[in-house]
Amino acid sequence: MTKPSAVADVMTVGEFNRRINLLFEQDPEMQRARVQGEISDFKRYPSGHSYFTLKDDEAAVSCVLFRGSAGRVNFSPQSGMKVIAVGKPNVYDKTGRFQFIVSGMEQAGLGDLYLAFEQLKKKLAAEGLFAQERKLAIPYIPQRIVAITSEAGAVIRDIIHVLERRYPGFNLLLIPVPVQGKGAELQIAAAIRQANAENLGDVIIVGRGGGSLEDLQAFNEEIVARAIAESQIPVISAVGHETDYTIVDFVSDLRAPTPSAAAELAVPHKARLLERQEQLSSALELSVLRRLESERKRLRQLRERPVLMQAAEFVAPQRRQLDFLRQQLLSEMRRLPREARNQLLPLQHRLSRPLEQKHARESKKLELLSSRLVNIIRSRTATQRSLFERLLVSLDALSPLAILARGYNLTYTEDKQLISSVSEVTRGDTISVRLQDGSLLCDVREIILEAGK
C-alpha cells in the first residue's frame, strides 16, 4: 500500500513525540543523565508522585519523581536544596511537555541559607549564648506580657485566645513587627530592645507561624539572636510549628513549639490557682477550729481529774489493810484456849506493842504524805487555774477571729485590753476596733447603757 507522497513524511503529533523520545534513547549518556541544580516549587501529590523544577543561575527544567523512584531517595527533598538528579529526558506523548524523569537524587551540598544557619548556630553556641545557665526564669504570674509578632494573622489571635482561657485578667502589649521579608529582623530586634529599654513587660513572646526556611529567615538572623541574648526580660520563642527550629529558639529562655503553647507557658491556669487558694483557706479555718475543740476537751478533762478529788481516798486502802490485819490477829488469839492465851499474853503484848507502834508510825507517815499531797495538789491547782484562765482568754480572743470575717469585731482599750462591757470605758477614751482586715482607732463620744444589763 502506497501513501500519497505529500503525506509520506508527515507524522502524527503522537509519532513526533515518540520519535523525539527514540532520539533520546539512542544516546546512552542521556539515559543516565546527572544534572546538578537547586530544587524549587517542590510539590508532592497524594498519588506519591512529586513534581518540581530544577534550576541554576542560567536555566530551569521541569522534573518528575515517580512514586516508585521516590522510595530510593534517602532524604526528604525540599525547595532550596541543591541536588544532583539522575534520570532521563522525556517528552510526554499527550502534551508534548518536556520533562526530566528523575530516578534518583543525592544532595549536592546544602543550600546557602542552611549553611548560614549552621554557621551562625555554631558561632553563637561557641560564645555560650545557648547555655542553660544563661536562661532567665519565666515569671509565675507575669504582670504584663509583651508579644512581638505580626499584628495580622493567626499568631496574635492564638496567643490572646489561650491567655483569655487560662488567665482572665492578663495584660498584653503587642509590638507589631513584620515577621518576614527584607528588614524584618531589624524591626524584631529593635522591638526586643525597646521592650527592655522602656521596661514594657516582664515576659516577652516573640514568634510567627511556620514556613519555609526562607520565611523563617528573620528568626535566624544574628541581630535578633543578640537582642534576645541581651534581653533582661525573659523571652519565650514561638516560631513555626513544632518541627521548625530557628536560632531564636536556641537563644531564647524558653522555646515553645507553637504560639498557643507560648501563651500557655507564659501564664498559669487561673482556675487551678483559685481552687488551691480556696482549699488552703478552708484548711486554715478547719485546723484552727479543730485545735480549739481539742484545747476545750483538754480543759474539760483536766477539771475532772481524780487528782483533784479528796486526798483521803488515797490513804483509805492502807488504813483498811491495817485494820484487817489487826482484826485477824485478835480473832486468832480468841480462838486459843485460856491457858495458852495466858501463856501467850505477854507474847501478845510483846507482839502487839511494836505492831501498834508500827501502826502509829505508819499512820503518821500516811498523814504526812497525804497532807503533802494535798499541798502539792493545792499549789498545782492554783497554777493550773491561772493557766486555765490564760487559756480561756486565748480561746475567747481567738475564736472570734474566725468569725471576724463575718462582720464581728473585737474592741480593745488603748493598752490592748479586750473590752466586754461599757463600764470598762469612759467618755473620751480612745479604743481600737479590730476587723478582719485591719483596725479602727475610735474616740468614745458617748456611753449608752442598755436598760436591764
Binding site: 495584660n171 498584653l172 514594657l200
Partner: protein
Amino acid sequence: MQEENFDFDDWMKDMAGTDENKNEVCSAVTDENSYEEKIARLEEIVSLLEKGEVSLEKSMELFQEGVELSNLCAKQLSKVESTIEKLMENGERVDFSKTVDSDAR
C-alpha cells in the same frame, strides 16, 4: 501519785511557748512577695496548724497571718478584666482587643 498521761512540765513549756520557731522555714511573707511565695507560706502555715505542735498563742498568730495571706492571694486573682494593647510607632498604646475581636470571632 503520778499523773498518768499528762505531762505537766511539757504543758508548761507549751504554754510558755519555748520552742516556738523550730518548725518554721519561711520568715514573714508580705504583699511584696510573689504569689508563689505567699502560697508556699500559706501551705506551711496550714501544715504547722494541722500538726498542732505549736502553742496556742503561736497558732493564733499563724492563723491571723494565714488569713491575711489567703486574702492577699484571693485579691491577686480577683482581677478578671484583661487589657490588650498595641504599641504604636509614636509610643502611644491603643486598645487592640476590638481589632482582634472583630476578625477572630
